[in-house]
């Protein structure tokens, strides 16, 4: 069950992640805005409620793992990890600066709490399977969560992993696909049509579900259900909007990696802040 107060907390956490991600991106004046925004609610539910983690001990062996295979959404994960106390909030200002621990794409050797290095699309699924298999071999009761981009699903390796995980019944693996329907060069239906992703994974032998990827309640229940599945990996297809909740990015086409003005980002930040203030009242 997700009590109303808990649901509200998750919405607030998502808004804080969105706010801190925008502030992070502001410092450089450009970044992967679209894909950072579309995945906010899922990351909020995972780190706000679902995952077994210890921010004081990022390498805790019995923790749950997250492989952010769409590594360009790193800034969203960094904001989340900072909010959870993995490292000081101040550090978020160093995004993409020389000597930073927060590079554009996720790096397990730089950022406390980042479990896998990603950035070359398609590779995270295999690493996540390996992590899940290893934990299963050692009898650990932990889950590996995997976040794939929709454009990323163009990669053949994703489908290699999909075959493998089903064959080996990797049921401690739960994947999400951020199906915001856009990739760098345009709409996925125009570049390389992905069709019904849930059906595709289902045909591969996965337990598949589809939710509104901006509804924390739907995400929460889908994960709870996926955790109960035995004998098959699970995928949750997130129907999302690229750039969600960021006034200058939402609803436009070229928002994968974008430049923005200070005025634009300040307006986006103010919008999220106003939302948060309303919730607190």
């Amino acid at each position: 069950m997700l009590p109303a107060t808990e649901e509200k907390n998750l919405k607030m956490f998502a808004a804080r992640i969105r706010l801190e991600t925008l502030k992070e991106l502001k410092s450089m004046g450009f970044g992967h805005v679209g894909g950072c925004m579309s995945i906010v609610e899922t990351i909020a539910v995972l780190y706000g409620s679902i995952m077994k983690i210890d921010p004081q001990c990022p390498g805790w062996k019995d923790r749950d793992w997250l492989v952010l295979s769409k590594g360009h959404a790193g800034p969203t994960l960094y904001a989340t990890l900072a909010l959870k106390g993995y490292f000081p909030m101040e550090e978020l200002k160093t995004l993409n600066r020389p000597y930073t621990n927060l590079p554009s794409h996720c790096d397990r050797n730089k950022t406390p709490g980042v479990d896998m290095t990603t950035g070359s699309l398609g590779q995270g699924i295999s690493a996540a399977i390996g992590i899940a298999l290893g934990n299963r071999l050692d009898g650990r009761d932990s889950f590996t969560y995997l976040v794939l981009g929709d454009g990323e699903c163009d990669e053949g390796q994703v489908w290699e992993g999909a075959l493998f995980a089903a064959h080996h019944k990797v049921d401690n693996l739960i994947a999400f696909i951020d199906y915001n329907k856009q990739q760098l060069d345009g709409y996925t239906k125009d570049i390389l049509d992905l069709g019904n992703l849930a059906d595709k994974f289902s045909c591969f032998g996965w337990h598949a579900n589809e939710v509104n990827g901006h509804c924390v309640k739907e995400i929460f229940y889908a994960i709870k259900e996926a955790k109960k599945v035995t004998g098959a990996p699970s995928v949750i297809v997130l129907h999302t909007e690229k750039g969600k909740g960021c006034s200058f990015a939402e609803g436009i086409l070229n928002n994968h990696h974008m430049n923005f003005t200070e005025q634009q980002i300040d307006e986006a930040i103010n919008n999220v802040q106003r939302f948060l203030e309303k919730q607190t009242l």
């Binding site: 492989v67 479990d115 070359s120 590779q123 295999s126 690493a127 399977i129 298999l133 071999l137 290699e160």
Partner: protein
Amino acid sequence: MAVMQNVKIVQAKDNVEEKVMMRDVYCQTLLELAAKDERITVLDADLMNSMGMIPFQKAFPHRTFNCGVQEANMIGIASGLSAVGKVPFAHSFGPFATRRCFDQVFLSAAYAKLNIRIIGSDPGITAAYNGGTHMPFEDMGIMRNIPTMTVIEPVDTSMLRDIITQLSDLYGVYYIRLLRKNPIKIFESGSNFELGKAITLNQGKDVTVIATGIMVAEAMQAAKKLALEGISTRVINMFTLKPIDKEAIIQCAQETKAIVTAENHNIINGLGSAVAEVLAENCPVPMERIGCQDLFGEVGPEDYLKTRFSMTSDDICNKVFRVLDRKT
């Protein structure tokens, strides 16, 4: 690089074909290691039969992952397994273990600073009847391009057994170029080797032949033939291509003032290139390179291919004559 406490190298008296296959020693060694070390896991891409790894699969079914024909996924899974403390050995034929999954080896394994061993079998002309599509003359070069990568070509079963044993306790990303068949015996069993440290097999003062893999035996034969001509040939086994033993190369260049490299690989980006880099920067001396001269592989018996790609002991002798002509 681990510092070996007990380097003990006993050279074989005669370089004759061994009775056992490299693949069987690989399997046997892993069986012994896995019995003591539960971290060891084995991955393959539908070549477990070819690699003779069925006994391992039978003994340790839960630690064996036959990925099907999925080299990219296999390397990623091996990387993930190592992230949770496993010690994976992942095999495919050389071309598929390297060029097919370069990006996965680069990013998921090496860049991520994870801990995997990649076994690429059937080096160069030993791919024989599988032909040019399966004949890796580029595998070591591809792997050598990746920072932190260690590239090793064990020359016989004694070295293979020792190297695999060492690798089970080391951390990093390793490419092991592995002949599957019966090798020519170079070392007595029980020898211990130091990674990154070249081995002098034959003393000599006129020229040095630096060889790796199946070319070591050819180089030893060439040295015998050259001795009849009054040429004193030093033979070095450079079994670790990366990190390469710079000191050994410089010392050979200073003492013999002429170098020939011999490899079952493209002379571009393999041993020839690696040695040339060291020489050019430190001690330039005349040098010649034996190996595939930037050509694609072909189908046929190994003997034919050895001649086709000018990799016989006579070819080595000819390069030695040439390099000696250039020596002032």
